[in-house]
């Protein structure tokens, strides 16, 4: 299933910047960065449970927020991209 993960992490102090880095890293391990704090993650339910737990353990619920959008199994169809930096289609042919 395709999950969209967005976050807002307060970067006022060093601890916040650390949280930001670690949240980004967790998302990057499971998905693709499509905008600065927006990630598309193609994960199965088990992997999603792991990612979700990892994200929840990283943030400070007093200051940061996370939003998860469940796009479902054929979520690709619901996405339209306009403008610069189009995302790589990870299900398409990967030739480099």
């Amino acid at each position: 299933m395709l999950m969209l993960v967005t976050y807002d992490v307060s970067t006022e102090d060093a601890a916040g910047r650390r949280r930001l880095r670690r949240v980004a890293r967790a998302c990057l391990d499971h998905g693709q960065r499509v905008q600065n704090s927006v990630f598309e993650c193609e994960v199965d339910p088990a992997m999603w449970a792991m990612l979700r737990a990892r994200l929840l353990s990283e943030i400070d619920v007093e200051r940061d927020s996370l939003r998860f959008y469940r796009l479902g199994a054929d979520g690709k169809r619901r996405i339209e991209h306009v403008g610069a930096k189009p995302a790589l289609d990870l299900d398409g042919p990967l030739l480099f």
Binding site: L28, D29, L88, L90, G92, P93, L94, F96
Partner: protein, 346 residues
């Protein structure tokens, strides 16, 4: 059911693969070209002299991502192999059955008859779709070959000797490749095909076929490893050092469906032209770099086509079929199903 995982192909000179977190990162000349999470990748194929970091190789070996290094023409060079995992008991059973002529004949029969049936389907499809536009002589020849392959198939169903089955397979291939050229609908003589030649391929059609077979071989090998079978112990193909006989076995029935049809479509739709190949002085023919990418793209697209598996009755992408066939073979070896059901394409 397993997800059909994607394969990364690195064809650029100066390619470098590394691991970053849980991602594969592809760099070309020091510049990042793309990244993908490891869990979405089933295989990595490197052409030309691409390198990979030890950390990535370790991660691939651990997670069962098949990583192969090939020459630009698709000839196999090396692969990264991790510690053997899977089930020892299954592998031992596989070895024992491979030594037992009676039991392995039953498996080989499944493979050979499925291959013959698929070759027949390729011929029949060509007749149905384009028969009216063909010469009378071509149509007759294809009809005859189709009927002969049918007869060989009917005969093979009753054989219980591996050598005789190998003979039937060879006979079928001879009939099939004898009329293969009639399936070509572009008049260009550059694509004329007379007989199968390999190592090296001596004409354009053979070069295209060899390249696609190499890709299919990679997929079949990772399918065999994926279900815990020993890819080197085959039933139809005899053991030879360094040869992945079981991968070759699994390939046989899929060749007509996945590779031959695709090669014909590429040529017939003029997606590949005569100028896309280079011919060595020695006569060896190979694909140029840019057309090779086109072939790989078509190959990846082809694997995404959905079909209904005739034995399981489930809809799946074509790219998953090698894995499913390996799984069915493993189940047969374990004794869960009575025979090996070859993949018969409709």
């Amino acid at each position: 059911m397993r997800r059909h995982l994607n394969t990364i192909y690195v064809t650029s000179e100066g390619g470098w693969l590394r691991k970053d977190g849980q991602n594969v990162v592809v760099e070309v000349d020091g510049e990042e070209r793309g990244r993908a999470p490891l869990h979405m990748i089933g295989g990595i194929v490197c052409f030309a002299r691409a390198g990979a970091s030890p950390a990535l190789m370790a991660a691939c070996a651990e997670t069962g991502i098949a990583m192969s290094f090939l020459t630009p023409t698709g000839r196999f060079l090396a692969r990264v192999e991790g510690p053997r995992s899977g089930n020892v008991l299954l592998r031992r059973t596989q070895h024992r059955i491979a030594d037992d002529p009676v039991r392995s004949a039953a498996i080989v029969r499944g493979m050979v008859t499925a291959k013959l049936a698929n070759q027949r389907t390729v011929l029949r499809r060509a007749l149905r779709d384009h028969g009216s536009g063909m010469d009378e002589s071509a149509r007759t020849a294809i009809n005859m070959a189709e009927r002969r392959i049918d007869r060989i198939g009917c005969h093979a169903v009753m054989l219980d000797d591996v050598d005789k089955l190998r003979g039937a397979e060879g006979e079928g291939a001879q009939q099939y490749f004898a009329v293969f050229d009639f399936l070509r609908r572009v008049p260009a003589t550059e694509f004329a095909f007379t007989t199968r030649s390999r190592r090296p391929p001596l004409d354009r059609m053979n070069a295209l076929l060899s390249f696609l077979y190499a890709m299919l071989g990679h997929d079949c090998r990772s399918a065999a490893e994926g279900v815990g079978l020993d890819p080197q112990i085959g039933f139809l193909h005899a053991d030879r050092p360094g040869r992945a006989s079981l991968a070759l076995d699994l390939m046989e029935e899929l060749r007509p469906v996945l590779a031959d049809r695709l090669a014909l479509s590429l040529v017939n739709r003029r997606q590949i032209e005569a100028g896309d190949f280079k011919v060595d002085e020695g006569g060896a023919v190979s694909l140029k770099e840019e057309p090779r990418k086109r072939v790989l793209t078509a190959w990846q697209e082809r694997k995404k086509d959905e079909l209904r598996h005739p034995f399981l009755g489930e809809t799946m992408p074509l790219g998953l079929v090698p894995h499913v066939q390996a799984l069915l073979l493993a189940r047969h070896l374990r004794g869960d199903i009575d025979g090996y059901p070859g993949f018969i394409w409709k």
